[in-house]
Symmetry: C2
Subunit: 452 residues, 2 copies
């Protein structure tokens, strides 16, 4: 039996940074990284396999290279058991490894809803497995119609990339809610996302529920609650994911309210020698400390950087999920951080909203310009920013991170309105028209009138 100081189970967006962070702060410790697949897909890159990079093998986390650069031992095997008393793990290859500290980064599993016929052929969940993802690609080549169930961002991205893969393909997104992306955007941004998909010839079935996946062995159509039937040579399930906790449960570790592995703010499980991070771990909201169901690679990585340093002492704390995310639809960026205006009402907090829009160049005829629309949401009582939504220019992909910083530091509308933002003709709007600051000023004006 080989003995390690640290064993990390899982090597995606949580496992890899947990191991490399451990390496940075514990240069003398021996570290083993165990994964259950040889090839680990970049999770957020999965949709782009189909219309952009065109091969699952071109969308891999370079685990071997990272391991080499960080003196990590590697093992490809499924961990099937943990003996917490002996401090060992066992694998499906019959091997046993001893640990001093164990990190569980076992990720999530796609939700397979209990719809009649969901077990038919050519119905695919988005599994993080390159070989499985290749099957989806092959089936796409043979299909004339695809139905994507679920209009969250994975569903929207998959729909767009399937259409890019084959412009002749009939692509329909079925969503139970009245809008796509409703969890992360307010209605006006959802409408822009829907427009981006519709303009590419993608069909949307909103306010619709799938009641049956029909066909003989393989799917041939999808039946909706409204009575409609959609032809479908394949179905993609983009409904979300649940924590992958089988191993943790079998080892007697507690789960939390979101069914993730229960952890404290240091990412420690109920066993002081075992930490957990990423999609498999329970989460709480930055805003109200209630359970959070968010699963993003950026959250996983943040938690991994906490777990990796906290292995032998408590040095970093999880502040809770802010939620910061971005995507591209129809050639425009969509990004959001924190809480939406609609979501704020569910949190029972009164808000003030500021918006601003304009081209991200000055003068506007500078090349490469695109519209950039900013919405900021402030808590009325504290005057602090709690959310932001962006649409348009690709620079939104970094601007959302400024907003995430504002949120994490509790900046007020006043502070953002007088924030020193660099601007340049070829890169941004002018300082006078700078959307972020103007949106904050609009909110501040309302707060000023309320409080003065």
């Amino acid at each position: 039996m080989k003995q390690y100081d640290i064993i990390v189970v899982g090597s995606s967006a949580a496992g890899v940074p947990a191991a490399t962070t451990a390496r940075k702060y514990y240069p003398e410790k021996s570290i083993l990284l165990v994964r259950d697949v040889e090839f680990v897909p970049i999770p957020c890159g999965i949709p782009y396999i189909y219309g952009t990079v065109n091969d699952p093998m071109k969308n891999l986390i370079p685990v071997t290279k990272i391991a080499g650069g960080n003196k990590l031992d590697l093992e490809v095997a499924k961990v099937t058991s943990i003996n917490r008393e002996a401090k060992t793990i066992g694998t499906d290859k019959g091997e046993t490894f001893g640990y001093d500290r164990l990190v569980l980064a076992t990720g999530s599993k796609p939700i397979v809803p209990p719809i009649k016929g969901v077990d038919k052929g050519h119905v695919y969940a988005i599994k993080k497995n390159a070989i499985y993802l290749k099957e989806i690609q092959e089936q796409l080549d043979q299909s004339k119609s695809v139905v994507v169930i679920g209009g969250g961002f994975i569903g929207a991205e998959m729909a767009e990339e399937c259409k890019k893969h084959n412009p002749e393909l009939e692509v329909t997104v079925v969503e139970m809610q009245d809008h796509l992306l409703k969890l992360v955007y307010d209605e006006e941004f959802c409408l822009l996302a829907e427009e981006a998909l519709i303009s590419q010839g993608i069909k949307l079935a909103l306010n619709e529920q799938v009641i049956e996946i029909a066909g003989k062995d393989n799917v041939d159509s999808v039946k909706l609650a409204s009575g409609k039937s959609l032809p479908a040579d394949m179905v993609i399930l983009g409904i979300g994911a649940v924590p992958n906790t089988e191993l943790a449960v079998s080892a007697g570790l507690e789960l939390g309210e979101t069914k993730g592995i229960k952890v404290d703010k240091y990412q420690r499980t109920c066993d002081p020698n075992i930490l957990a991070c990423g999609d498999c771990a329970d989460k709480f909201s930055f805003f109200n400390h209630k359970p959070s169901y968010s699963k993003l690679a950026s959250i996983a990585t943040m938690e991994a950087r906490i777990a990796g340093i906290n292995l032998f002492h408590t040095r970093r704390m999880n502040q809770g999920v802010v939620g910061c995310f971005s995507t591209s639809l129809g050639g425009h960026a969509f990004a959001a951080a924190g809480i939406t205006e609609a979501g704020a009402k569910d949190h029972c907090c009164d808000v003030v909203v500021g918006t601003a829009a304009g081209i991200n160049r000055h003068p506007g005829l500078m090349p490469g310009g695109d519209d950039l629309k900013v919405k900021l949401i402030f808590e009325k009582a504290s005057q602090r920013i709690i959310g932001g939504e962006l649409y348009g220019a690709y620079s939104a992909g970094e601007l959302i991170n400024a907003i995430s910083a504002f949120i994490s530091k509790g900046m007020t509308a006043e502070e953002i309105a007088t924030f020193q933002a660099g601007t340049h003709p070829a890169l941004t709007a002018s300082p006078i028209a700078y959307q972020l600051v103007n949106a904050a000023e609009m909110a501040e004006m309302q707060l000023y009138n309320l409080h003065s």
Copy 2:
């Protein structure tokens, strides 16, 4: 004599937002905006007149439109006097206007160095005057060689745009220091900027000083201290600017250490009814409260938003100059905020530096990717970020604003290393490779080893 509640003198990056901010917070007040030119150039857009937008009239602040939308009265006249007792201003057209509060936003004047021959024809400073800027364009059309004196960002941008205007043109930048852009970048970034210019066929004369601008009536060559002579059909002075304070001085207002109009942290001059903001106003550093000579449109706008609300009470405070700026050279973004590593040594503070680089896509073969290089500078004692430098992808134009936010909120390396940054295959590096967070982690590791 017409009476106004508020008069703003100047309508560039300070005057316009001062007036519009005043309008937002004082909806009932009458406001007059006075400018001395009919057409007000976008200041940071001036270089781009020559190689990109190709007409000074396409690089204007839409003052009339903004005035219309904000109920501002407009006057085109040079303000020649202020009677502080009577609370009136007089113009070169012989008119007098009364004010209750006055905002001076008179900007800066380009430095014309006392070089022999600087008064010859075809030697141009960068004046914020569309008609004058048109003359430069006309002379460019007739020139085969141009010498740009000064290798700050205006000099570098002017050189690039002159070359774009006419690729046959011989363009040389003369800089006294050993590198371009040395005020805002550390050497490794200066070298990248120099490479960007050289690769476009622009010549650099570093460590060189101009001792004479030679020629008969018009310049025909530039003599350097090293003995070299550069042919020059025209010379562009890109040396910097000094506060335009003639009007303030004639009214007996005090100047500060930087020769700008002395103001308190509320942007009030020594006369309680007169405020000043932008390039004409004295400034201090965010970091040590010492005088700051920075002149950026982003600082001007920030000060204007403070002055505009503080006219009738003190509501906002100036925190001092962080300094956040960006540019584009050779198709790559260059951006910086705060203090450089070299500059930190001048501030007598020990620093720790973190760097990270990589393509701003994941996987790297996603379209539109560019390298993004990040350097972060942390004060060793406080562990707080005091500076950042970026090179590469255009998204740096917004990423630098996240760094500006980090600086203004005093974020530690630890906080940035666990900051929740949104990432997406089409927009940024992966969460594992995200440069900003990795640079912070590299610095944090050093701080950790120092402090633990």
